[in-house]
């Protein structure tokens, strides 16, 4: 395929992905808005008013970046894992596999599809947050960079999950038993400074700590970890995940007999 044909193929996958999640927007876009509104009301307004300041900001301002990032992570991941596994499940993935579309275009089509959903939900959640608190951006480059990289990373992770999943149960195991605990323990609701030293060190092993803190730095200008190190870690994991996804596609693992 020449470049134009590859571009058309990429846009076709992307258009299909966007059409999918907007068609079922009550399952894909709306739940995050409702869940986050509840978080804002309960943790931000009701509980947060009793907690006082954290890191020099009101508790509501402190948790908002983490909650936005939580929405981005879960939506980027879920979009790719459900869409790609769904295609495997109903065999419509064969439409792509028999076509001349290169594997990297297939991958990027799904990944950017997941990223657009992550960003769409981020915009919705941010708009909801503005009803509860004032938000200003400390560093646009950091915000844009971290949102994009994080979204790509978790979309790639979703892709890996989808390749290995055999049933719809398998695509909910990782989000439920791995992703959600890591997010909750990733400093969304608290500063790592509040933890005893041992648990603070253990938390450094959680990749979500870097994601949440880097984004919080972009919005509020404060972070529990080094921003450069956070970017480095996310870039490292993204490259590893991308290489592994390409290996899975090129080898046809779980896709071709």
């Amino acid at each position: 395929m020449n470049w134009t044909e590859q571009y058309i193929a990429f846009m076709t996958i992307l258009r299909k992905e966007i059409r999918r999640y907007t068609r079922i927007w009550t399952q894909t876009l709306l739940p995050s808005a409702i869940t986050m509104s509840l978080y804002f009301v309960i943790f931000g307004t009701l509980v947060g008013s009793r907690i006082g300041e954290m890191g020099g900001f009101t508790y509501m301002q402190f948790v908002v970046p983490g909650l936005i990032m939580m929405a981005i992570v879960t939506n980027s991941y879920s979009n790719v894992v459900s869409s790609f596994f769904g295609s495997k499940f109903n065999n419509s993935i064969e439409e792509l596999l028999v076509s001349p579309t290169p594997n990297y275009i297939i991958l990027w089509g799904y990944i950017i599809g997941g990223v657009t959903r992550g960003l769409a939900v981020a915009v919705i959640v941010t708009c909801v947050a503005l009803f509860f608190t004032h938000l200003s951006i400390h560093s646009f480059p950091v915000v844009i960079g971290i949102v994009t990289m994080t979204s790509v990373l978790f979309a790639l992770a979703g892709f890996i999950n989808a390749v290995f999943a055999n049933s719809f149960d398998d695509i909910s195991i990782v989000p439920t038993f791995v992703l959600t605990p890591l997010i909750y323990l990733g400093g969304v609701f608290y500063s790592l400074d509040l933890l005893p030293e041992f648990w603070r060190n253990v938390s450094q092993l959680n990749p979500l700590v870097y994601v949440v803190n880097a984004f919080r730095y972009g919005v509020l200008g404060v972070s529990d970890v080094s921003i450069e190190f956070a970017f480095g870690m996310i870039a490292f994991f993204t490259i590893i995940a991308y290489a592994y996804c390409m290996y899975l596609l090129n080898s046809g693992t779980r896709l071709r007999q």
Partner: protein
Amino acid sequence: MSMVPALEIENLSKTYPNEFQALKGISMSVQQGDFFALLGPNGAGKSTTIGIICSLVAKTGGAVRVHGVDIDIDFALAKKYIGIVPQEFNFNVFEKTRDILLTQAGYYGIPRHLAEERADAYLKKLGLWEKRDVPSRMLSGGMKRRLMIARALIHEPKLLILDEPTAGVDIEMRRSMWDFLKEINGKGTTIILTTHYLEEAEALCRNIAIINHGEIVENSSMKNLIRRLHKEVFILDCAQDLPDEVSVEDFTVRRTDAHTLEVEVEKGQHLNKVFEALSDQGITVQSMRNRANRLEEMFVNLVEGTAA
């Protein structure tokens, strides 16, 4: 200069991870413009062969060339030449009929305006126009089959492979699909057909390969194959009540009911002799038909021969 074959398969083999040897080094060739039947019982290796040609199955050994393009060298180009209609429905049932065609066109890098033109043309041609904005799960079985044919043709392939395209389709619809396939074959598209309806292969195909236990057991023209049939059974509907015993010299004749006879005619024998003998006995034949599909008999003989 002779044309390169539409499909060349050389010593193709496939062993699955569970050690099952689905293909044992088959070789065959399909010429451009041919209407080719690939027959075989369930599990013979037909779908594995097709899966390898269209990249859904990884081969263990051998070579496949599509219009001279080796799939090991430039599979992307080879895929552009191939349109595939699989045995099972494999589209997203939540997508609308027209969107399925447009999406497939996009996967082949076809610009949107051209894809829309072609999609609309095929939807009309295959009687799906009224259902273009309907989710594909709402289509009938026959419509779903036609949708898969339209999808396979959207990039205008040179080689169309149909894996049991008329399975579960009613007779009227099957005939109209035959007419459509004959039409596109007449326009130059090479067609490879696998089917369980041997009558279908006989009606449509010029050449045939029969595969069994991962080996090609027959590969010749349909005419040659049928010429080799040794015996045919004809059913004669007679005007009068038949006596209990009816016999014709040199022929095996069975009385199946008061008005019906079955006559076995071997290669070299002539039906005239049967009619003369029956006429001498005062029996008038009103109509005549084959008892079974001749190809089916040949198929059973070949497959049983290799099963031993």
